[in-house]
Symmetry: C2
């Protein structure tokens, strides 16, 4: 059976789990701790990053970028589903990809890296240490700017990139869900972004993420609550 190496609080892994569920890809989920640098894992992905997907009998596909595009390339080989990761014409697909890069790169560097990596992964890593408070403050400040941007997008469009839900929505929701597990999202102050997130959070594809539990980190009270 196909196999996805992931970590429950890795936003990139989460975006692919959501996309796989929307596309009804069947696979086994296996937790990987990238900070352990397992030789077998590095043989699958020399970059040492998550997620890594191993199709049944196929070569490993490393990284959310390659996996999400592979999902789009192989749409024709699966039972048709309503979800296309990059829907529409070439211009619409480009806008979705711009926003995927926005969340998987800019949001990651400006928010997720400061809040999730500082708070969780630093504790497990080789140089276990306390969170850097200045970094966490920067993450909180940056998050507010991104919440405003999400609100701005959803007030002019049905979904982040246009008329249809796309991988941009899943990438954004993946990062926010990891932050939400840690209770880091000030939902009440950002109503439009909250309304958009509620739509994504209520999809069946989201359910397995809401059941994730990470040893040593109790999820925030409303993490699994659809009426948050």
């Amino acid at each position: 059976m196909a196999n996805l190496l992931h970590h429950p609080l890795c936003a990139f892994s989460r975006s692919i789990r959501l996309a796989f569920a929307e596309c009804r890809v069947e696979y086994e989920l296996n937790e990987e701790r990238p900070w352990e640098w397992r030789p077998e894992f590095l043989a699958l992905n020399p970059a040492g990053t998550l997620p890594v997907f191993i199709p049944d009998g196929g070569a490993p596909i490393a990284g959310a970028y390659a996996i999400s595009e592979w999902l789009s390339d192989t749409m024709g080989e699966r039972a048709a589903t309503a979800f296309e990761p990059f829907p529409g014409n070439a211009a619409a697909r480009a806008e979705t990809r711009r926003l995927v890069e926005w969340f998987h790169q800019k949001f990651y560097e400006e928010v997720t890296d400061y809040l999730v990596v500082e708070k969780v992964f630093r504790r497990f890593g080789p140089q276990s240490s306390s969170p850097d408070m200045a970094a966490m403050r920067a993450g909180h400040d940056n998050l507010r700017y991104h919440m405003t941007y999400i609100g701005h997008l959803t007030e002019t469009r049905s979904w982040l990139a246009g008329d249809a839900m796309s991988f941009a929505d899943l990438a954004a929701a993946a990062h926010l869900s990891a932050l939400d597990y840690l209770g880091e999202v000030p939902w009440e102050e950002f109503e439009p972004a909250k309304n958009w997130y509620a739509l994504v959070k209520s999809r069946p594809s989201f359910r397995p993420l809401l059941q994730d539990r990470i040893a040593g980190f109790v999820p925030a009270g409303t993490y699994a609550d659809l009426d948050f």
Copy 2:
């Protein structure tokens, strides 16, 4: 006419200029200084990053990721060329994309950011300052590891990602060419990587890059030399 906003030493812009030349896309090149945060530029790409492509009469396409995939999506609309950015079947395309991410993200963070950004962009930026020597040392060390990886790939394959030249080769060559302008690449110690680079460098698509000149930075002696 279509228009590409770029900076001559921006590796992401360089990778798109190479891909456009290989695909015979016609466009005008306009230099942008992203550190100036021009409001008109931020209206085109709120992330403030390069490159940004504005197709003739079309909406802007921001970032090397969206532009390279748009190039692949619109292959059928242009006169056929021999170059396909992501050639082969879905598995081959995934391997190309893994390596594009390797160079445009990992190599960028571990090498280009330390050497090109420290040496050049820091001088132009809002907080003009001298290069950070520790960062530059880290960049030099990391570069050696990446040169070895390039050599390893080219010793088992015709091109970095497989049998055909792909956007992975152009992305890798784009970063190395920016470093090479600054004389930062120890070619003599990495013969297999040098042989691969010589092949890419000798393509007609590379010629305009070799004519780039950045005020205040004289290119290294062999930068434009095909027999380097």
